[in-house]
């Protein structure tokens, strides 16, 4: 059921992704909590979805999500999951994504979009956690 929820959220957030990168928060949540195969599948699907929305850089988001997703999946075995580590890892994930996209597609930073995404991360992450795992945070 939660996989359908992820899909619904992707489709819901896609039109607003230019202004606030909510998809990055959801895909991070998947990488952080789901198993390798699910993470890989969603990275392919969501990356392709975003790229279809802007075909001029087709393949870029797939590549970023695949690589960064595999990095998160790899490092999560060595990190204790709590709020500070989650925020730190998301920050690294999101900033890497923004920097790589800006470098490869030669676009400018949208500083307000980045700030709003950071501000929205904790409530959305905790909300998703509450919906999927019936608790605000894994302890």
């Amino acid at each position: 059921m939660r996989f359908v929820l992820y899909l619904a959220l992707f489709y819901l957030f896609l039109p607003f992704n230019r202004y606030i990168d909510l998809i990055a928060i959801v895909i991070f949540f998947i990488f952080w909590h789901e198993n390798n195969w699910i993470g890989l599948l969603y990275a392919l699907f969501v990356g392709f979805l975003i790229d279809l929305y802007n075909p001029s850089r087709l393949g870029l988001n797939i590549l970023i999500f695949l690589v960064l997703g595999q990095v998160i999946i790899y490092v999560r075995d060595f990190i204790v999951q709590n709020l500070p580590t989650t925020i730190a890892l998301f920050s690294a994930f999101f900033l890497s994504r923004v920097i790589v996209i800006s470098l490869l597609s030669v676009t400018n930073f949208h500083i307000w979009s980045i700030v709003i995404t950071f501000l929205a991360f904790i409530p959305i992450y905790l909300g998703l956690h509450k919906i999927v795992y019936r608790q605000w945070m894994k302890t």
């Binding site: 990275a43 392709f48 929305y53």
Partner: protein, 254 residues
């Protein structure tokens, strides 16, 4: 990471790298194939949102138009009320009459018309046409009447200048003259002279003629103003007799 995972990850990397390597035309072709299917829900949602936005804009436009129309309607209502008041002032009862004869010795001075006392016509009722004042009824029979026109010598009517409201008397003596106008009254060429409503015969506001010439006489007080009659009596075929005087009715009201 196991070897199997690493292998699948490596295979997965082929897809984005291939897509990135495509030319813009190739990317568009791929997008055109998959976008209609995969982005269908997004298009539906955004389409619905755009529809709502457009509908909202239309509603705002229509509300703005309604407000403008309300304002216009109010103004038109006020104008209509004014016009109704005007109509009430000028609500003449008219009897249409055909000219059936002219006096051979004074061809434009007197007209015979085909309506008489049986049709409600009486002596001293005003006669008009679409251009203005024609004259007044001098004699009535049962089925015919005689009209003294503005072209008859000694015809006179109380009048005023429509622009300045200067009162005077229009009289016919060889030419139609606007008399008793003081030398310092501002009357100009092409001014319209209308009946003043001071007499019992002619209601106010009927056009008598237009100022065509102004002469300074040797008289110290008055100047001589010549008018061109508004009604061209020699071209008339029908005239209208005013059988009521709305000014009288207004004056009789409490």
């Amino acid at each position: 990471m196991s070897k199997r995972q690493l292998f699948i990850f490596s295979i997965s990397l082929v897809l984005p790298i291939t897509l990135l390597a495509l030319k813009p035309e190739g990317k568009l072709k791929v997008a055109n194939i998959f976008a209609p299917v995969l982005l269908y829900p997004v298009k539906t949602i955004t389409g619905y949102l755009q529809f709502l936005d457009i509908t909202n804009q239309r509603i705002e436009d229509l509300e703005r138009k309604i407000e403008i129309l309300k304002l216009k309607n109010t103004k038109l209502g006020e104008n209509l009320q004014l016009q109704r008041d005007d109509l009430e002032v000028t609500s003449f009862q008219l009897v249409k009459s055909q000219i059936i004869g002219r006096d051979p010795s004074n061809i434009n001075g007197f007209l015979a018309i085909n309506k008489g006392s049986r049709h409600g016509l009486n002596v001293d009722q005003a006669v008009i046409c679409s251009d203005g004042l024609v004259g007044r009824i001098k004699y009535t029979g049962d089925n015919e009447s005689l009209v003294e026109t503005v072209e008859n010598n000694a015809f006179s009517v109380s009048a005023l200048d429509a622009r300045t409201n200067v009162h005077g008397m229009v009289k016919r003596f060889k030419k139609l003259q606007f008399e008793y106008i003081r030398i310092n009254d501002e009357i100009f060429i092409n001014d319209t002279v209308v009946t003043s409503g001071m007499s019992d015969i002619f209601p106010s506001g009927i056009v008598i003629g237009y100022v065509r010439d102004i002469e300074m006489k040797s008289d110290l007080f008055f100047k001589c103003i010549y008018l061109e009659p508004a009604a061209r009596v020699n071209r008339l075929y029908y005239v209208y007799v005013i059988t009521n005087n709305p000014d009288d009715r207004k004056m009789n009201q409490p």
